[in-house]
Amino acid sequence: MIAMISTAAMAVRRKPVLSLWMMLLLAMVTVGAVSIVFVLVEGLKVTNLTNALPWGLWITVDLSAIGLGAGAFTLSAAVYIFGLKKYEAIARAAVFIGLLGYSSAMLALFVDIGRPDRFYHPVLYWNPHSVLWEITMCVILYTTVLLLEFIPIVLESRFFARYGWAHTVAHLLHRVMPVVALAGLGLSLLHQSSLGATYGVLTARPVWYSPSAPVLFILSAAAAGPALTMLVTLIAGEVLKKRMVPTDVLHGVARFVGFASLAYLYLKLWSWAATNYYSHVPAQATGIELLKEHTPYDVTFWWGEVLMGALLPAIIFLWPRLRRNRYLLMLGALMVVAGLVINRWNMTLSGFTVPLDWSPGVLDVFGMNRYSPTLVEWGVAVGIVGYTWLAFTLGVRYLSLYPQAVRLVRTRPAPAPVPASEPFADAAPAGD
């Protein structure tokens, strides 16, 4: 024990930032592990979920993780299907982040279902009528796709360099990658939108019932997935003093996120206008009124989802002068990511907060449903976030996630500014 502490103390002295970061992550993972064990032993009574509001924080985590993992399918499709080879510089990181997203989503679901010992039942007892069944199958298959895309990254790490077969397997996998990427694209298009349909098809919940929900889910995922990949790439570069990917690649991703955000915004505003502004369907309108009156839904929708989550980042990413500032780029990506998480929380909670209405009389028989997660629920969520950050930190350290990373060398006694060494200075031609 003392030896461990002294080793840790030495590590802190040598690399203080990294050590403290790792300690934080280990603490988060520990909290998560303890919470998960607690839930599995005690059952879901330790949550604040009820029969009237049976889904909460963990579903938000699960929906967010899958949405934020969408960088993998968009960037893989760019490289392997659309032949935009330059994005190979960032596609590996995107695949790794996707794998972390999907594995954490599956972990969240595993804790959330009442019978985790039966998690495989959808594979045995098919119900193709159920969007949740389709999602389960797609997520399982797509995680397999991500693993296939991830294996070459592992095999090409320094550890496997000494084995000849590793190179052969990696090479073989590379050759089938276009097929794998195509499968990944198809599966992602299916389940990313079906996650929106999970709410969108429920006729009994007027706030949810909407044909635009599936499309809104996939558009927001297409924006936020690459945005998260860009964000962590920039942060890693900042910490390691490296340029992780060529600047024009980064700006290409930024532009894509900008356009995806605009598309999302466009449908989102029309969806709002059609159901809230230009019409007054009783159940829907009263539902939104209730949410406005009793919850922060309206404020978080306009300020969090629309302005911060889509409009401002679209401006940053599509305005070349703003895009060239890497701190603005980070801020924009962070806003897109935060916007998606807020949206998934709002989606989940809004439909439940407004009560069902099946009584034929005129009274409001059923009150608003309320929910705030328990400490244990937060503990599981913190653990899952900690796991993804820890895995990514280790991934950057031990895997070649960024094959084109360049160490930025400061020409020390520089008499004149050297533009080439400036991190992320836009050397690419204008209008990239």
């Binding site: 389960t136 009274l363 028989v365 059923f366």
Partner: protein
């Protein structure tokens, strides 16, 4: 089709015999291939869409078999909650997880009325279509029931049910006493384990056992849901909706009824006779 081709060809004088034969052979081959492909495709499509499930497996077509349903007379209901308690005792249900609930509401004319709600056993049940593990299904006789051994506890059925007719086992119940036993009856079914959803089954165990004994559900008390038997004002009726001579069919034929949230298209098998002042 072939005739058309021939006449067209003849009138326009552009179709040689060779072309005609080629077209006919091609068309014939296409039809043959289509016919060969159609059968397996059809069965695949059917199994995917679930159109040929238990319905075809049973010997009797849906129209002649029984379809169990309930009629609840809201003019009579006094809100005593006897049906709620009898259900809790018979099916061993806790207060928080009641399968059969009672609410009070008001008609537009200001009349207070009582309404009790079992599971409505919808013909287009949202809970059935959303279940990712086929744990909830509808039998050919209309009963929407659960296989508690398949349920994974995802609770999507609770999210989808428009009537809040489903309860989740948030904790293991163990041997905790049921407050309604023995006053309102004794449990006739097993307690459900922690982590699965449960729901009203129209006392399926009574129905099936009664039918096996040759009894008539809705007439013979041993073959009838507990909630129907206990009602002190006879507000609940149970029977075969497909039998025009059953008490429920006669009631439906003679009295105006409505179903809860018909606008949702769930097509429930539970009908209500409106209280005075309520026009549906």
């Amino acid at each position: 089709m072939g005739e058309n081709n021939a006449t067209n060809g003849g009138s326009e004088k552009t179709l040689t015999r060779r072309e005609f034969v080629t077209i006919m052979v091609g068309a014939g081959a296409t039809v043959a291939v289509a016919a060969v492909l159609a059968d397996p495709l059809n069965s695949v499509a059917q199994s995917l869409l679930g159109t040929d499930t238990e319905v075809n497996a049973e010997e009797a077509p849906a129209s002649t078999g029984p379809r169990w349903g309930m009629v609840i007379d809201l003019r009579k209901c006094i809100g005593c909650e006897y049906c709620v308690f009898a259900c809790q005792a018979t099916n061993d249900v806790t207060d928080e997880m009641r399968w059969n609930v009672h609410i009070m509401d008001e008609t537009p004319t200001g009349n207070i009325f009582h309404l009790t709600r079992p599971c409505l056993h919808c013909n287009h049940a949202p809970c059935v279509s959303v279940c990712p593990a086929s744990a909830t299904y509808q039998r050919e006789d209309g009963l929407v029931v659960m296989d508690y051994d398949k349920c994974i506890g995802c609770r999507y059925c609770q999210v989808a049910c428009p009537y809040g007719a489903r309860s989740f086992n948030w904790e293991e119940r163990g041997d905790t006493p049921n407050p309604r036993v023995p006053e309102w009856g004794t449990p006739e079914v097993e307690r459900r384990p922690r982590g699965v959803v449960e729901k009203c089954s129209f006392c399926i165990h009574r129905l099936d056992a009664g039918l096996a004994r040759g009894q008539t559900p809705g007439v013979d008390p041993e073959a009838t849901p507990a909630c129907v038997n206990i009602c002190p004002v006879t507000a609940r009726y149970f029977g075969n909706l497909n039998d025009p001579e059953s008490n429920v069919s006669k009631l439906l034929a003679s009295t105006p009824t409505f179903r809860l949230r018909e606008d949702l298209g769930t097509d429930p098998n539970v009908y209500y006779i409106p209280p005075e002042g309520l026009t549906i």
